[in-house]
């Protein structure tokens, strides 16, 4: 036990003393903020220049003019300059297809030349077929949704008019206003989409980076000891299992130190919450004790499971390069939840989500995402997510124990084998040996 402690201390010190540890502490949160917040912030950002457009109104029923005036409400950040500048409204004869084609060709060249941001083609009988074409080199989500809303409002007003119900276009806006649907967990805590998405990704990323990052440090340290033959000196003094356990625990403590510092930074930032609008949203997650307990369980289990696998790889390969082949599937297993995050957000209770989150290799990342999306406020096994999350801990813990046992059997032989990589039958022989 005492010798294991010496190994733990060395592994811990080797990581914590490095500059990269400090850099990781500072850069990782910035990186997390970047990947989670930036897309949301960018999507929200208003355009800073006036965009020019033209309209081909084949319906020739005044829609072009109405659309032009409906765009006047949109102003740039300065509150004065209009966001859109409608240059021309063309009303060609819709039956003269060559004239229309000629006009479109001309506008196309303007768009390509950058003289015109975009143009719209309002089709004939648009009140019946709802068809409008927008031509542009690139499309912004913001502009598209504005055009769609305004045109829909205009068409709605015109249809009402045709039905002899006289309403102004402006009042249509009022009539067609959308409901502001807010999500609340039982108990009244507000949960909005951005918070759920961000919170989920942030915590998944922490587990992901801890398991993969520290797992690979562990793997490299095994390969280093193997290649330099220090391994022989070490195992002539200490049992291979003690060595492996000392490494796993030592690096695990280093990773927990890092996470603890992140939490501390988070808590400090939260105390200055006025400066950070997002902290109020995230606080609902960070200060939910049930969530945090589950998070810590999954963090530790995820690390143990994956770092043991990395120790296994380190013990059977001869170089970092050889190890790359094995790292890929492990990374894939860990990154899967991030890739299907959008699906889980929409269907956190679906059978697919439940089954995937109960597969031990996916559990740490997948389950924490589901807990976050579904929300846990009370610890009660009647709540399916509490039951599943707890079952996930048990299954992952059992799998981890099995993986540790197998790895320990292979490790003690693999670390003294050089040259040819063992085949699967050989590995099985080692496990039984």
């Amino acid at each position: 036990m005492h010798k294991m402690w010496i190994v733990i201390k060395r592994e811990y010190a080797q990581v914590v003393k490095k500059k990269s540890f400090l850099v990781g502490i500072i850069l990782t949160p910035l990186f997390l903020v970047a990947v989670t917040l930036l897309p949301a912030l960018l999507a929200d950002k208003k355009s800073s220049t006036t965009e020019s457009l033209s309209i081909i109104d084949m319906d020739n029923n005044g829609i072009g003019e109405k659309f032009k005036s409906s765009l006047e409400r949109y102003l740039l950040d300065d509150g004065v300059t209009p966001s859109y500048n409608v240059k021309n409204i063309y009303t060609p004869d819709p039956t003269d297809s060559s004239a229309v084609a000629e006009l479109r060709k001309e506008l196309d060249s303007l768009v390509i030349g950058g003289k015109l941001k975009t143009y719209l083609v309002i089709s004939r009988n648009v009140l019946e077929n709802d068809s409008v074409i927008q031509v542009a080199k690139s499309f912004s989500f913001n502009m598209g949704s504005r055009f769609e809303h305004r045109l829909s409002d205009i068409l709605a007003a015109m249809r009402l008019e045709n039905m002899k119900i006289n309403v102004s276009v402006d009042s249509i806006l009022h009539v067609t206003r959308r409901v502001d649907l807010k999500h609340q967990a039982p108990g009244g805590k507000e949960r909005d989409f951005l918070t759920m998405y961000m919170g989920g990704i942030v915590f998944v990323m922490i587990i992901f980076m801890t398991a993969l990052g520290y797992g690979q440090i562990l793997m490299r340290s095994v390969i280093e000891e193997k290649n330099s033959r220090i391994m022989e000196v070490l195992v002539s003094s200490i049992s291979p299992f003690q060595l492996m356990a000392g490494k796993v625990v030592g690096l695990g403590m280093a990773s927990l130190t890092q996470v603890a510092i992140w939490f501390a930074i988070g808590a400090i930032l939260y105390s200055f919450q006025a400066s950070l609008a997002i902290s109020a949203d995230i606080s609902g997650i960070i200060f939910n004790p049930i969530f945090i307990i589950y998070f810590l369980f999954y963090l530790v289990l995820g690390y143990l499971l994956y770092s043991t696998l990395f120790a296994l790889i380190g013990s059977i390969v001869n170089s970092d390069k050889e190890a790359q082949n094995f790292i890929f599937p492990i990374t894939m297993a860990m990154i899967l939840p991030v890739m299907i995050a959008m699906y889980i957000i929409q269907e956190p209770d679906s059978t697919v989500a439940v089954v995937l989150s109960l597969i031990p290799f996916f559990t740490p990342t997948m389950m924490i995402m589901r807990i976050n999306f579904i929300g846990v406020d009370v610890f009660n096994f009647n709540n399916p997510i509490i039951f599943e999350a707890t079952l996930g801990i048990v299954l992952t813990a059992l799998t981890t124990l099995a993986v540790i046992w197998i790895t320990a059997r292979i490790f003690r032989i693999g670390i003294l084998m050089y040259g040819k990589r063992p085949t699967l039958p050989e590995l099985i022989k080692w496990i039984k040996y």
Partner: protein, 308 residues
């Protein structure tokens, strides 16, 4: 003499092929014991079994009359054949870590480390990283890590590999020092000339089997009744044709002649002196190298190849 380490009929097979084949040997306490043989003879495998890194398929290993214990692991210093240390750690950290792993306390290391570093002329590098050292310095550092925890026994695999002549002398001096303090030293090597200058006892092995073992002086006496060394000017190839000469081994500066049991060395001397100028003529014990060839009836050319 007290026996410290005893191997009894140990065998180790790799894929049905015997790497070590019913090897028995006895290492006396406080002796310098050399396991000598060409590459692939089974030296490293034997040492790894003594170190409990791998287990023998059969046979037993006894230390001080007992099975391997954890305590023995703490009291043995081991230098593997291929050397290497943590490149990113400082000398101070590496030495302390490897000593602590052997159960030696941090404060003891702190008290003794400077003496060792000075002895090896590494004092100024104490807080520098291992990767900053030259190969030779790293070798000396590794010797410190092998010895600092005051082992009862030192086991050195391919002791001389990678050492330059100056370091060989330094290390020999330190090993003789350790011997004076009562430490038992076991090493393996394929460099027989170096081994015979250092060992009290030897065990020659070849193809996993013991060829012969015993006190070096006894072994030499047994084989050394009829060998002469001659320093001559010019080519000594003619010596083969002198009657009574059984074998000729040419070294850089001299030739070694093995004579038939009934040959008279004075007759041979006169014969040589009549052909070339003789600078030195000496009745000697045969070199281990020649004994090895003699006993294994190896083809010298082939053995030369295996020694490389």
């Amino acid at each position: 003499m007290n026996e410290y380490l005893r191997l009894d009929n140990i065998c180790k097979y790799y894929n049905e092929k015997a790497a070590v084949d019913h090897l028995s040997l006895s290492v006396p306490k406080g002796a310098i014991y050399g396991i000598i043989g060409p590459n692939g003879a089974g030296k490293t495998t034997t040492i790894r079994m003594i170190m409990d890194i791998i287990a023998p398929d059969s046979g037993s290993i006894l230390i001080d009359g007992r099975k391997l214990t954890h305590d023995f692991k703490n009291r043995v210093g081991y230098l593997p054949e291929e050397r290497g240390l943590y490149k990113k750690m400082t000398l101070n950290e590496v030495i302390t870590y490897l000593a602590e792993i052997k159960g030696y306390s941090k404060s003891q290391v702190a008290a003794e480390i400077d003496g060792w570093l000075t002895k090896m002329s590494l004092q100024e590098y104490k807080f520098r990283k291992v990767e900053e050292l030259s190969k030779g310095m790293q070798q000396k550092l590794q010797f410190i890590t092998t010895l600092i925890h005051k082992p009862n026994m030192i086991i050195l695999d391919e002791l001389f590999s990678g050492l330059d002549p100056i370091n060989i002398e330094l290390i020999k001096g330190i090993l003789l020092d350790q011997k004076r303090q009562g430490t038992t030293i076991l090493f393996s090597t394929h460099v027989m000339e170096q081994a015979e200058k250092l060992c009290d006892f030897i065990c020659l092995i070849n193809k996993g089997q013991k060829v012969l073992d015993g006190k070096l002086a006894d072994v030499k006496a047994k084989f050394g009744t009829n060998t002469i060394q001659v320093d001559i000017e010019g080519d000594g190839g003619f010596a083969r044709d002198i009657s009574g000469v059984e074998a000729v081994t040419e070294f850089n500066n001299y030739i070694e002649l093995k004579l038939a049991a009934d040959a008279d060395n004075q007759t041979v001397l006169r014969e040589i002196a009549s052909r070339v100028t003789v600078r030195r003529f000496e009745l000697v014990e045969p070199s281990l190298y020649n004994i090895f060839i003699d006993v294994t009836r190896s083809d010298p050319a082939k053995l030369e190849e295996e020694m490389k």
